[in-house]
Amino acid sequence: MFSEDMFSLMGTGLLESLYMTVLSTAMAYFFGLPIGILLVVTDKDGIRPNPAVNRIVGSIVNLLRSVPFIILLVAVMPITRFIAGTTIGSTATIVPLVIGAAPFVARLVESSVKEVDRGVIEASLSMGASTLEVILKVMIPEAKPSLIVGAAIATTTILSYSAMSGFVGGGGLGTIAINYGYYRSRTDIMLVMVAILILIVQVFQEIGNVIARKCDKRIR
């Protein structure tokens, strides 16, 4: 079986992966959530229609979404170096992860918020709610269950992105899988890495589903 060192390596890898995933997801939402809402609000059927803003922001999101992550990872290296001071290691990897995931998150948020019944938004406008109040008190709370399911999807996608960064020394489970499982042909390590990744995805997804179900007051 594995040596003591191998275990501690895997433990570190797991922590690094979780660190990258959680922090990147949080930051991707920091940028993606407002962008997603902006897309809904400025839509031609939105509460503040603005075709110009909508088209420009939509195009940027599409542009970033159409670059495969492994390419984006390498392409944004100058930015990564500028922000993190290096391109290697888990902290540096957060930069491309956020750039890659934020547009994805924006689309997820957009589709969740669009599910909110138009009539409910109209009702709140009729009561004198401002645009900001509609966003904060109606759109987000009403879309919450859907947003949480979306967050689980985003988290698992970001985890798989982070594993991909193993190819360029991104740290975490992905790097172990590449360095040991692939370059040194250690199939056993590869399998363990895959198993751990599967497990994490399951756990994140399940947590998301449970929270979403718990907080949704529509189905009883």
């Binding site: 009729s126 009561m127 004198g128 709610a129 401002s130 007051k217």
Partner: protein
């Protein structure tokens, strides 16, 4: 003796109505136009609408779907911006207000909807607190007021229930309480009972009427159902093809509908386009429970003349027939005389119905 107007609850006394007319309107629409789209795709939804609604009224706006009534009601609180014309609320022209001013005006105009539009992730109580939160009322005070309102609409025990746990009627009651939260002067009802069963519709209408009498809140009702108008409205406007065809006291419009649009709504099954070009006179028969015999059938047999039933609304109560009916007589003086004689003999009240259509 029986009078046609007894069919339609005589909602308003004449003196009352006259004093109302001398007041300033709570909502006044002036030369309102609304066009959707531009150029070739332009669709006119409202065309030169002029309307005054007075404080304390229950005002009905009735029209078939697509007539523009929903757009009209949305123009009253500017959820829909009119293309031209003015909306005057309580003496203020709200079409030129800033966003902030408009939002504060909207707090004086409550609105309820066909699909209730409650926040699904909030309890009944929290839903009613929502407009108060927006108005900046402190939380504690808002909750107190929301509880009072829930009691007003008869749902005191449902404060912790989520909309998904409430029936349609209960949801609409919560929506009404929510609309009342900021003490509005007007409540707009957009097909508020159209998604409800007849019994629930009755109780919601009764509640609206009670609120109108207790709080003096003006109620504007948009509907496609004549029954709703009959039951609670004082005045009614009939909207058809983007125009207001007729405005008047409900009983007047019902007794003497002047326009084709009004007749179509009041006698929904009458085919006026054809019937009215026929030569025979139209006769309105009133059944006031003094007969249990099949009058029309006997009349046809006895006089040997066919009549066509243009409209009928009769009920059998205790084996007696109540209601009214409009029949078209044959174009034959002799037969008409016979028919009238027969009706006199049977003591059926009748009056000739005018065929004038615009």
């Amino acid at each position: 003796m029986f009078y046609i107007k007894d069919f339609f609850i005589p909602l308003f006394q004449h003196a009352e109505r006259e004093s109302m007319m001398t007041q300033t309107p709570i909502i006044q629409l002036k030369n309102l136009n609304k066009t959707f789209g531009t150029g070739q795709d332009a669709v006119v939804a409202l065309d030169d609408i002029n309307l005054s609604i007075y404080p304390g009224e229950i005002f009905g706006i009735i029209g078939l779907s697509g007539a523009g009534k929903s757009t009209l009601v949305r123009c009253m609180n500017l959820l829909e911006r009119p293309t031209a014309g003015n909306v005057i609320f309580d003496g203020t022209d709200i079409t030129n207000l800033s966003d902030r001013e408009l939002r504060s005006i909207r707090r004086s105009i409550g609105m309820i909807f066909q699909s209730f539009n409650l926040l699904m992730q909030r309890t009944a109580l929290e839903n009613i607190c929502f407009p108060l939160e927006i108005a900046g009322v402190p939380k504690k005070e808002a909750k107190k007021r929301a509880r009072e309102l829930l009691a007003t609409v008869g749902l005191a025990e449902k404060e912790k229930a989520y909309p998904s746990q409430l029936s349609g009627g209960q949801k609409q009651r919560v929506a009404i309480a929510r609309a009342l939260a900021t003490n509005p002067k007007v409540i707009l009802c957009d097909e508020a009972t159209s998604a409800l069963d007849p019994t629930t519709t009755q109780s919601i209408l009764a509640l609206l009427k009670e609120l109108n009498q207790k709080l003096g809140v003006t109620i504007i009702i948009i509907t496609h159902e004549m029954k709703v108008i009959e039951q609670i409205c004082n005045r009614v406007a009939i909207i058809d093809k983007s125009h207001i065809e007729e405005i008047g006291a409900v009983e007047d419009v019902f007794r003497h509908p002047k326009t084709l649009a009004a007749k179509k709504l009041i006698f929904p099954n009458g085919d006026f386009s054809e019937e009215l070009t026929g030569k025979g006179k139209l006769l309105r028969l009133v059944f006031d429970g003094n007969t249990d015999r099949p009058i029309i059938a006997n009349m046809v047999l006895k006089c040997g003349a066919p009549v066509s039933i243009v409209f009928a609304n009769t009920k059998k109560i205790d084996e007696k027939i109540f209601g009214h009916m409009i029949i078209q007589l044959p174009d034959n003086e002799e037969k008409v005389k016979q028919i009238l004689a027969y009706l006199d003999m049977e003591q059926i009240t009748y009056e000739e119905e005018s065929k004038d259509v615009q």
